[in-house]
């Protein structure tokens, strides 16, 4: 009986580690469109499961007073991001934050490409005439703000970082002016 309990304990602990590394519980709060955020990221007040999940999937993330992270794993229609498709990320206005970036990940790591281009930021984007921005995600080269998706399939995600954000974003993340993620075409 003791052996059974020890084996079960070990299985439970291992299951917790695996769950924390794969769970989608990081995004527990809705943002606009496909974006999700989490109030307790990087915060000692977060619950045990969330702290474990952040440790596995966003180790040493900063608290919301400093950075608000939004994560998307689908387009605005709820379909999982895939490198078989081309997407447009666009918005006319910037979020009320000191500095922001949008970064593409495959299995939470950057997608290798010849340009070493993994992201675009508020300081290096090529702007539209109206001051807005438009980023194209695809595996094939695109003019302008191209974010390469690479040739390898896998779980893709986007993280939109708001550094030193206006408190209004944390108070009402669903109203944050984040870009739409529109699927343009698929192979």
């Amino acid at each position: 009986m003791l052996i059974a309990a020890l084996v079960a304990f070990s299985a439970g602990a291992t299951g917790a580690w695996v769950y924390a590394g794969t769970s989608g519980r990081m995004g527990v709060e809705s943002g606009p469109g496909a974006w999700r955020t989490s109030k307790g990221t990087g915060d000692a007040s977060a619950g045990l499961v969330q702290r474990a999940t952040v440790a596995r999937q966003g180790l040493w993330a900063l608290p919301q007073s400093e950075v608000i992270y939004f994560r998307a794993i689908t387009d605005d229609e709820g379909v999982a991001l895939s490198n078989r498709c081309t997407y447009e990320i666009a918005r006319q206005e910037d979020p009320p934050t000191r500095w922001w970036s949008v970064t593409l990940y495959r299995n939470l790591f950057w997608v290798d490409n010849d340009l070493d281009r993994y992201s675009w930021t508020s300081t290096n984007l090529i702007r539209e005439d109206d001051g807005g921005y438009r980023i194209i995600l695809s595996k094939d080269s695109q003019p302008g703000n191209w974010l390469p998706m690479g040739e390898e399939d896998g779980g893709f995600s986007l993280i939109f970082r708001n550094y030193q954000p206006d408190p209004s974003i944390a108070l009402d993340p669903k109203s944050a002016p984040l870009p739409a993620i529109r699927r343009v075409s698929c192979d």
Partner: protein
Amino acid sequence: MRLNLKVLVPGAIIAGLLSGWLVGIWATPYLATDAMFSRFVSNGAKSNTLSKAPLRTAKTAKVVADNADTLTRSSMLDLGDGPLLLDVELPTKSAYWSVSLFAHNTDTFYVGNDQTIETAQPGRFRLAIKLADQNVPDGIADAIAISPSRTGFLIIRATMPDRTDPVAVKELQDEVLQSRLQRLEISG
């Protein structure tokens, strides 16, 4: 008294699974930190020593969900031999700069950026890092961070104007590399 194994064994399994799950979830932040420290040590990193500020790429990045647009310097912290002093010359070529400190269990116990910190000397920031029962001399630092654990992690982040612009990256690297982390020698 005869033990009813048909009841006790499933009960022990369920109790084992649940307790294992709870302990595992509780321990995950500690284990995630230790796992990352092991990787750093195997790559030659030492405690209380700031890393250089290399431009990370998909081939070299080690941290999950890393920020692609910051030059970072980091250090594993060990306060067992006394408090530390981080001495920073604030970069001028970055849209955002911050220093953050994380406890062994990943809790953030200090974060300050170039707009929120207060400095006695313009452009220079000195941060003392100590355990609650350690002392630091008056006036030696602009701020004091008290760590809840003996070990922890320090990250300096400076956003790059554009990671694909080698001149801009080099200029910012030169600035960021001015930071120093040293053990505070306490006399008496």
